[in-house]
Symmetry: C2
Subunit: 263 residues, 2 copies
């Protein structure tokens, strides 16, 4: 599994809880964080670096736990992985599937970074689900930075989140996709502001369900009784990855090792 930084750990979190028997290696390409502001061509080459590195470790399945990398590089990852018989799971499509399946009113909201919204990947994925959906997207420039920066949210976070949620309340959505892997850290706050009746769809649940289904279909699932291993690679300082990562994983991190992708 990989991401540009620690955000994808919210996806790993759900996989660790849902698929305890599997082994995971997570690579955060922290030296080149953030991916969101880079040209697609550059991102595609980053995805090739990271996917290549993980395939060399004999990964049996690859998860792209990053919106930007999915938009720009999912095809590239598949080009490298599929000839080796390695399936690729991405974000965006799994959340769109779940949202389309659970919305009753057909009114779906998306909270994401401005880059993700501008790229239109969630809108396309939702429109490809075979039912008429009314999609309201809100770009949230300040939300991921606030979450990344500070473990102790101050009260201003509430106003920031409330501002972003307002168009979704006005549109009366009954389902909201958290279209950035940082956002699960404010999921309780979002749920409080949206109200209990609104369903919140996060990449973690959606990806874990996809991984589980694909492993089972291909007979690749690990039948062990106990828990598997998980470990972490990053491309800049390991200590700061561990420090900030725990908040995103909500579990002990254990081994974190710095690697050089070009090495």
């Amino acid at each position: 599994m990989f991401d540009s930084g620690v955000g994808g750990l919210t996806v790993l979190h759900e996989c660790l809880v849902s698929l305890p028997g599997e082994d995971f290696v997570y690579l955060g390409d922290t030296a080149r964080f953030p991916y969101g502001t880079r040209p697609a061509e550059e991102l595609r080459s980053f995805v090739a670096d990271v996917a290549g590195y993980l395939l060399d470790l004999d990964a049996k399945l690859l998860v792209i736990a990053c919106n930007s990398a999915t938009s720009a590089g999912a095809d590239e990852a598949r080009r490298l992985a599929e000839p080796l018989g390695v399936p690729v799971v991405t974000v965006i499509e799994p959340e769109a599937e779940i949202a389309a399946a659970i919305t009753e009113s057909g009114k779906v909201g998306v909270l994401a970074t401005p880059t993700t919204v501008a790229g239109g990947a969630y809108r396309r994925a939702l429109e490809g689900q075979g039912r008429a959906l009314e999609v309201t997207e809100v770009g949230c420039p300040d939300l991921a930075p606030i979450i990344q920066r500070d473990a102790t949210f101050d009260h201003g976070v509430i106003d920031t989140v409330r501002g972003y949620v307002k168009p979704l309340k006005q549109a009366q959505v009954d389902t909201v996709i958290l279209g950035c892997t940082h956002y699960p850290l404010v999921a309780p706050l979002l749920q409080r502001i949206l109200g209990r009746d609104v369903r919140v769809v996060m990449a973690g649940h959606a990806v874990a369900a996809s991984v589980q289904r694909i492993l089972a279909e291909r007979g690749l699932d690990n039948p062990r009784e106990g828990e598997g291993d998980y470990r972490f690679l990053c491309t800049s300082d390991a200590d700061s990855f561990r420090e900030i990562g725990t908040r995103f994983l909500q579990m002990p991190l254990g081994e974190v090792r710095r690697v050089d992708l070009r090495g």
Copy 2:
């Protein structure tokens, strides 16, 4: 709502998410933390102090979000509150009700502090649910202190939790009550070790459901559209309460004020 410290904030968390329209005041009696090792008679007088303070603030419902205070002082709180028409919701009984309702095998596990296990309150509450249950209780002396101490769990936490969970796995329970308000912070880890098929019951969900039902029954629920206020009182240093509290509430704390209960 009150507790001896920050643990009850995991209960408040769920109430804030489930009952966004209500106003909450949370009092952490941090000057006399921990309650768990004190004689019942002393605890009863603490409960009288705290409940009295909150009733003077015109609380319409009182939640005892603390196992020790519930065991020793629920009667005392009711004696003070009920003549004023104020219902009292405690921990223990709500979790027992839910666990008895959802267990299929009838095998229920309880993780709690040694004091709570020794007091037998969960066992009695479970045995009073009107169906035959096989109850396995595990006293976890190290778990709450580990959670209280350190935001960045090290890998040793996994071994500690695995040790406590072992008797529950051997007993093949299908439902586990987290009988201490600190434990939700390791709920993902517990779920991973227990496996997805085991249902984990936390005080937060159980209490929020009870509060919602009682408010509705008595016509006391707040019909407002937006979110209510929440604020915090504690009996020792406000800054350290705020610092450690955010981790337990998983939301911004905002106002924290130090009060003197004997004032």
